[in-house]
Subunit: 457 residues, 2 copies
């Protein structure tokens, strides 16, 4: 890593500096205006001053894409321009020239159905926090009938009081995981250890269907269980409206990951999406864990087969950067922070997406996933007292183990044989191989897993 910033290089950069400002155009100049217009098609550009040429900027001088060189008295972020890589651009104010292009090539090239706008964020929790804020703002604008706050809104919000800080809620599901900052944490219900000792909000929590696997074999019971949960969702929405804390949004994972790889059917998600629409709540699909191809489609919600699957889709992890896609009407001009993500991650993501396409990795995932799940079904038949509920989509698979102690022992034994497995939920093992996991890797794994199971039987 140190390759890119040597002491010698730093010294040189330091010593070279321009001898004064030099203005070529008004600011923002024509090139900045053109780029702002381009980026405006993809995200909110209200706070952008101009686009910056980070390669030419150094010392105390910032050079914009129109060649204007300005003495910078507002260097908010960096001790100085040690190098383009050290500097972390403030994307919300002064994005680099290639930012709109790289956003198109990376995040927007895989945008979910119905969504043409994306907001990048530094991490998964910030992505969900800001998605919730976008839903609250959207809901309040809807309640007001316009987006102009009253004087009372403006003054009461400064002291954390309603109506400026309204009593709105987000409906989440038991077993869900959406992050660990305080807003996210109020919708996270997977493990007590995440939530313990942290103040929270009085928001409604619905049951997530507890289905029997394989899903195809228990259609009727599973449909009943899903109907029960959907009914509960509607009851909670009504109850919380009655107690003066309306549900501004519903947040859900396509597969509850941390909570134990809990699946639901496309029918459940379609009906849930309709309930959200009926009650005027935004529908937020959290793809932080499931997005990026592991289910065999780029987004897990694509398995639902809907044209209008969501109002907001958040992502992170495999996408290398955090952020969320959203519909035009959930455009939040007030969503903003210093870094708004890190553009170097977009460059890498564009490259990763190229490889995924060139190597047909989603087909690979579907093929390997099928082989993996078949193998798990066989082992489950062979060890019925130890294994149950093999389940998965693509290589995003899991299986339940007899008990927590056996699970942990299996994970350790597999590690000693050179296979790294992870746990989730109370007694599941989850499989999260990379997208380049091929069928022969599956066989290699099944052999080791089979040996480990034989030792435990």
């Amino acid at each position: 890593h140190t390759l890119y910033v040597s002491k010698a290089a730093a010294k040189t950069q330091m010593e070279f500096e321009y001898d004064g400002p030099s203005m070529k155009t008004e600011v923002p100049g024509p090139r900045s205006k053109e780029l702002t217009k381009q980026l405006g098609e993809m995200q909110n550009v209200g706070a952008i001053n101009f686009f910056c040429n980070y390669e030419e900027s150094r010392g105390n001088y910032l050079v914009d894409v129109d060649g204007n060189r300005m003495l910078d008295y507002r260097h908010l972020l960096h001790p100085y321009w040690l190098s383009a890589f050290v500097n972390r651009p403030a994307l919300g104010i002064m994005p680099p020239e290639n930012f709109p292009e790289k956003l198109s090539e990376s995040l927007l090239s895989v945008a979910p159905s119905g969504m043409s706008r994306v907001q990048t964020m530094a991490c998964g929790s910030c992505s969900n926090e800001n998605a919730y804020k976008a839903m609250f703002i959207w809901y309040r604008n809807k309640e007001r009938g316009h987006n102009i706050p009253s004087d009372e809104d403006m003054s009461s919000c400064m002291i954390n009081q309603s109506p400026g800080c309204p009593d709105l809620s987000i409906l989440s599901f038991m077993g869900g995981f959406h992050g660990r900052t305080m807003g996210c944490l109020a919708t996270t219900h997977s493990k007590a250890i995440h939530k313990l000792d942290v103040p929270s909000f009085d928001w409604p929590i619905a049951p997530f269907p507890k289905l029997k696997y394989p899903l195809e074999e228990f259609k009727r019971e599973n449909a009943q269980e899903e109907a029960r949960c959907l009914e509960e969702v509607e009851d909670l929405i009504v109850q919380w409206r009655q107690k003066g804390r309306p549900v501004a949004g519903i947040v859900i994972e396509p597969i509850q990951a941390e909570g134990g790889d809990n699946h639901a059917t496309p029918d459940f998600f379609k009906k849930l999406r309709n309930i959200a629409r009926k009650h005027g709540s935004a529908f937020h699909v959290d793809e932080v864990q499931t997005g990026g191809g592991a289910t065999g489609k780029f987004w897990a919600h694509e398995h639902w087969g809907m044209d209008d699957p969501a109002d907001i889709v958040s992502f992170s992890k495999k996408m290398l950067t955090g952020g969320f896609y959203h519909k035009d009407e959930l455009q939040a001009y007030r969503i903003f922070n210093t870094w708004m993500g890190d553009p170097s991650k977009n460059l890498f993501l564009a490259e990763v997406l190229n490889v995924i396409r060139r190597e047909n990795l989603l087909e690979e995932v579907t093929r390997s996933g099928k082989t993996l799940l078949q193998g798990l079904y066989q082992l489950q038949d062979q060890y019925p007292n130890m294994l149950s509920s093999a389940r998965g989509q693509g290589t995003f698979c899991a299986i339940d183990i007899r008990d927590d102690a056996t699970r942990n022992s299996i994970i350790l034994k597999a590690r000693d044989k050179g296979v790294l497995l992870g746990g989730c939920g109370e007694r599941s093992i989850r499989f999260r191989p990379a997208l380049v996991f091929k069928e022969y890797h599956v066989h290699m794994f099944l052999n080791v897993f089979s040996d480990v199971l034989a030792e435990h039987n």
Copy 2:
């Protein structure tokens, strides 16, 4: 940027893969254990499995620092090992080998007085959110007398209810800015636009002293104003305890930055710190804006001259990475997320710190800052109807303008002449030059600023 990831390189990395696992030691092996011990002196290592050799890891294989090569079924983060730069290590679980060393060279080499532990985070908001969580957890452990939660704690927290999610609060100050995620936002009170339409917590908000500048000329009035605010702080702590929402922590900026560059005296901060101690609340100094050298000391709170200035100090921005330092007793074993920051930022920070030391940049800042403030005093005498309240520490300076419209016109005019200025508060201009801002840059600026003011008079 694309230099580092070419399509050709990606292809080669893809094609090269190991042919199976290969185990040399138990896991974690001796080297991992040694590094975990080292890192354990600096931060919480409870979740670390082993240290990873990211250079040798590729395809589906992860190689640890003891040379164990493991087939990875838990690739949580990356589509695959495209390159060490693409991969964003999960620092909480599998840090790279040089992580403890780089942490020592970077963040720990500038640790505030009394603090030997640091937790990195991806952004400023996450830093404060997690600092608040650490204070809540610490406070609850203090209340319980131990750190073992009751069954009721464990079950109630899953549904956002007390006692598991306790009714605790953070006391903040009017005019403060601590971030935009929901926990942080409940302590932010600088602009309505940040808070509007987002649900919040009923937490106490104290007045921040409104002082007269230069501070030395208004000692008596300023001391009275500070006493008034401190009294209000104590009243609020008592009130919130009485209403069953005890103040677990107090959060404050050494200089309120977004809120308009509001200063207070060392005496105020010393007394506030004592109030926190007296009432059993943690004391959190937010140096996200002020840290990194701009005030002439590395941390603004060093100007207070205290041996024990804080329990928690959070940072971001100029530090390139987010995070917080904390005292041993605020060690939160449950503070955790996926990325826990980005180790490449530590490498850059180490280099930046070297330059700061080698070039004596803090002395430079003190010198330039003195010249800047003297120049602002002179202009203020020259234009008493337009300018007032010049103030600052190091180059972290500001001046008030007659009104908001004049302020904005001055900022635009200066930009046309090649000088970038920023506003803060209702009618202030703030100066935030880089650490390499020298006296001749100050003179260059003062000439332009003087011309702009002459045009407005």
